[in-house]
Amino acid sequence: MKTLIIIRENAHSWLRDTFPGQHPLLVRICNKSFLEFLFDFSIIAGAREVRIVSDGDMAEIRDFCHDGGRWGLNISYATIQKSDTITQINNKNRRFYAAERIIVLDNLLFIEFNKNESYTEYLASSHVGMLLSNGQGSVYLDGADQQSILEQCGSSPHISIPELGSLPEYFRLSAEILRQGSRYILPGYSNEDGCYIGRNVVIHKGVEIKKPVIIGNNVQIMPGCVIGPEAVIGSTVIIDRESLVTGSIVMHNTFVGEQLEVKNKIASGNRLMDPATGASLQLVDAHLLSEITSEGTVYEGIVRRLVHVLAALLLFIAQLLPYLFLRPFVGEPVAGGTGHEHKTAQLFNRLSLDRFPQLFRVFSGSLRLIGSQPAVFRYAETEEWPENEMDARIVEQFCTLHSHPFGDIPLLLKALLNRKESKIAAS
């Protein structure tokens, strides 16, 4: 048994509009892409060989799947024309078809199935032809008809394809997958039913988690929050103190501000969408990608300036001798310190001596010692996990909102100690 996935370029355009910048099949539902759920189905059906064909650009899909080794699959690719029918696609992929039974997933986003049931026999013994269709996409059985097993044994396993053509339907399906979590293979660690938690998740004191929930990787939930029931929190998310997220989806790379109530909504970046009404609200303040406004009072500004200059002075005294001693052994400093340099250069960066010349700009008042970009040290460098600019901006957003002149000192120490791990380039 093999699986052929047909991707038609013009399908699922509502997903492109709602979650722009991503291939529709790579959009996540319950923290896993649609495509990965299709792979799960293929694996459960016993089909480890998958071919993905498309009439459009497959670069994104290829970059995500490669040869499928990550899932234990063997994935190949082929191109088709827009007008190709299933018969023509069969002809074009004859070598792949060989004499096997092929499950054709045509223009599909999602199949409802149950991982505890057996599909192999059912799919192998059904006749060639349309198995399921919802007008948009279909499951079609192709290839050889298995003559030997014409009589079906037992009842057929659960399989259906949901209507999925709008945001409310996406929202409904997400809640359904979450409720029936045991049917699917959901990402994250789960020690009890209905609770899936990813890597590097920090849940602070006084947070209430109500099942069912899914939480992605690199998530911080600040004190006093209530998460769930029925909450899906994506990866790289911070939920600030005393906020409530229930019956909602927080997409990846989102920062949920303080004391917010997110009920039956989808939060994505700085947008808050209401699936019931279709309304979409652009948040200016509390969410990611907003203008960073909180500069505080004039008094706070003076205190901060003073604290930064004093701290920079201390750092200057501490770094002066090591800098003068080590500088001659280091070539042109490489921004960010990528870890590929010579040992001395590594030590140089580890001690943050590469930032030494910038201290003068703190004295002159043109640069902050620590803060959001531009600064000698970035708030993003206080955390170990940011891997790209998006991650970094979330941390900076958070730190800026909570910044306090004296609070910058512990953050500076954190950044200094963290230098070996830091992957973010300095300003």
């Binding site: 650009d57 497959m58 670069a59 191109t79 002809n91 074009k92 992929n93 004859r94 070598r95």
Partner: protein
């Protein structure tokens, strides 16, 4: 590069083999000029290990002439490296691509 052609049913099969780049392109070009390829054509690329834009340009030229003459052109047996060139240039939109010659000739 090696070039050969044969008949299979209503189709002419043009089989290419080797490297299809700027230095072998002229050879293919003159072969195409000397031989009559009117009618339905399948180009079998099974033995082409490497193709760059010079090779692609010739294939696109054939596709244009076939389209103008309202004749059928199919490509067959592209390896992953060759497929990649069609994908990044979007040239795949101009060709019907099969993974086997016999299926293409049906």
């Amino acid at each position: 590069m090696k070039i050969s052609s044969k008949k299979l049913g209503d189709y002419t099969i043009l089989s290419l083999s080797g490297i299809l780049n700027a230095s072998s392109a002229p050879q293919l070009k003159s072969y195409l000029e000397e031989t009559d390829f009117s009618g339905s054509l399948i180009i079998d690329l099974e033995l082409v290990d490497f193709l760059d834009s010079s090779g692609l340009g010739i294939l696109v030229g054939i596709a244009r002439r076939k389209k103008a003459a309202n004749e059928i052109l199919k490509l067959a047996n592209l390896n992953d490296r060759v497929k990649k060139v069609f994908e990044i240039t979007q040239a795949y939109t101009l060709f019907d691509i099969y993974d086997e010659v016999n299926a293409a000739a049906e």
